[in-house]
């Protein structure tokens, strides 16, 4: 995979970030957030070393707090404030917080895994709207998931993975749940060949 002409496979998370890749992990609680620390800490984690939040190795607590507060407002994250333990938030609000943290810095490419799993309809719709808005601004979004309805609704193109390989790629206009389902069983390749 390449971003702006550079292959990303062999980079560290930090270097990938610098290239403009945003990522939202599948497992919010273990990979995404630090549940025992304030929410604000998790929200600035990937960018803590940047000018926005620190200078010469010293943190800028006011900027961190202001950033977290702004995002809480913009994304309607329901919580008592930026200093609350991240682990105290509900799943939907955590997902919004992670989304806010990645989108705040205009990624060129965003990779999301199971973006709305376990969320209520309101939060899911909110996140879908954000994706569409990002797409309108020219951000490439890769959604990894199993919820076919969601993928059909969001995607321009859908690639089906089978046994670790891409079994086939469809424009979403051509894609139906039935066709995707067939490809997911590994039948996709023969169909394509035919």
């Amino acid at each position: 995979m390449t971003i702006a002409g550079k292959t990303v496979a062999q980079f560290t998370p930090r270097e990938v970030q610098a290239l403009g890749l945003g990522r939202i992990p599948e497992d919010r609680m273990t990979t995404g957030l630090v549940t025992n620390l304030p929410l604000a800490d998790s929200m600035v984690l990937p960018r803590i070393g940047t000018e926005a939040f620190s200078r010469n190795g010293l943190l800028n607590p006011a900027a961190i707090r202001a950033f977290a507060e702004a995002q809480i407002k913009a994304y309607d994250i329901r919580c008592p404030g930026p200093m609350v333990r991240a682990g105290a938030l509900s799943g939907g609000n955590l997902q919004k917080a992670l989304l806010a943290r990645e989108l705040a810095f205009d990624p060129k490419v965003l990779i999301v895994s199971q973006p709305t799993r376990g969320l209520d309809i309101g939060a899911a719709r909110f996140i879908h709207e954000k994706f569409l808005a990002m797409r309108a601004r020219g951000c490439g979004i890769i959604v990894i998931g199993e919820d076919l309805e969601e993928l059909l609704m969001l995607s321009d193109r859908i690639a089906v993975m089978y046994e670790g390989r891409i079994a086939g790629t469809l424009d979403s206009a051509d894609a139906t749940v039935a066709r995707l389902g067939l490809m997911m069983t590994g039948a996709g390749r023969t169909e394509e060949a035919a």
């Binding site: 990979t31 025992n36 620390l37 803590i48 105290a88």
Partner: protein
Amino acid sequence: MVGAGVVEAYGVMLSASLGDSYAITETLVRAAPMIFTGLAVAIAFRAKFWNIGAEGQLLAGAVASCFVGAIPMPGYLAMLLMALAGAAAGALVALVPATLRVKFKVDDVVSSLLLNSVIYYALMALIEGPWKDTFSGYPISPPIEDSANFPVLIEGTRLHLGVVVALIAAPLCWFLISRTTLGFRIRVTGENPEAARYGGINVQRVLLSTALLSGALAGLAGVGEVGGVHFQVMSDISPGYGYSGIVVAMLARLNPLGVVPAAIFLAAVMTGAEAMSRATGVPAFLSDVIQGTALLAMLVALLFTAYRIRRVGASA
């Protein structure tokens, strides 16, 4: 020891540790090394670098600073170089278990504990062998230069400059943990290394930096004992200050600011127990029992506060 005897004994303990201004200075002198080792442990445990080796790092710091302090040079230069040498020695020792963990997946608890024995025997070999004080013939190192002795702050007491440095070190460590990017990375790495790595933090480098910092602080504990209290190195230069540092850090709930009162509390228990031992014959090892009990009691207390928070959180 029954009834009135107990009250009397505790009376002796209290007055000897906090009863008058001299007693207070003695307690502070005792607290200084435990402030340093307490800070060393608190910072290490924040990153979940299980540094149980503060004892060995302290000894290494003592040896290094004693070497430097024995070289004739202007007093304040000597003190500065002693501190630097001691901190560097402690940091190097702490780097061993951290490197072994990062490179070879060796459990840091076990390696840092074993290293304590290695450093202790190395120190003993030095003062029994090439470094033995030829003047006294005892297994102690030659003394440092008089000019390198840390200045006493209050005439007639042992309150030395190192105690003040220890008291300043605590807020500095607090600042480091809560207001710097390194501190941020230490906290995040300790709480959730996976999220830290995902968020672009070089977890291995954070662990190594933490080890250097932690070891340097423990090394400074040894510097203070050489420069301000004993002026040389002997086998019992530390009565387990490195292990007490673990108790101090836990009592302080790993908060550097809490380390100061926690260390003073343990120091008061120690000086008090010694006085009580002299007055009533109860062995001074009572303070070791109290230390162990305090640590276990603190853990249980933490558990119950955690439960309360969880329950309050659940009902909210």
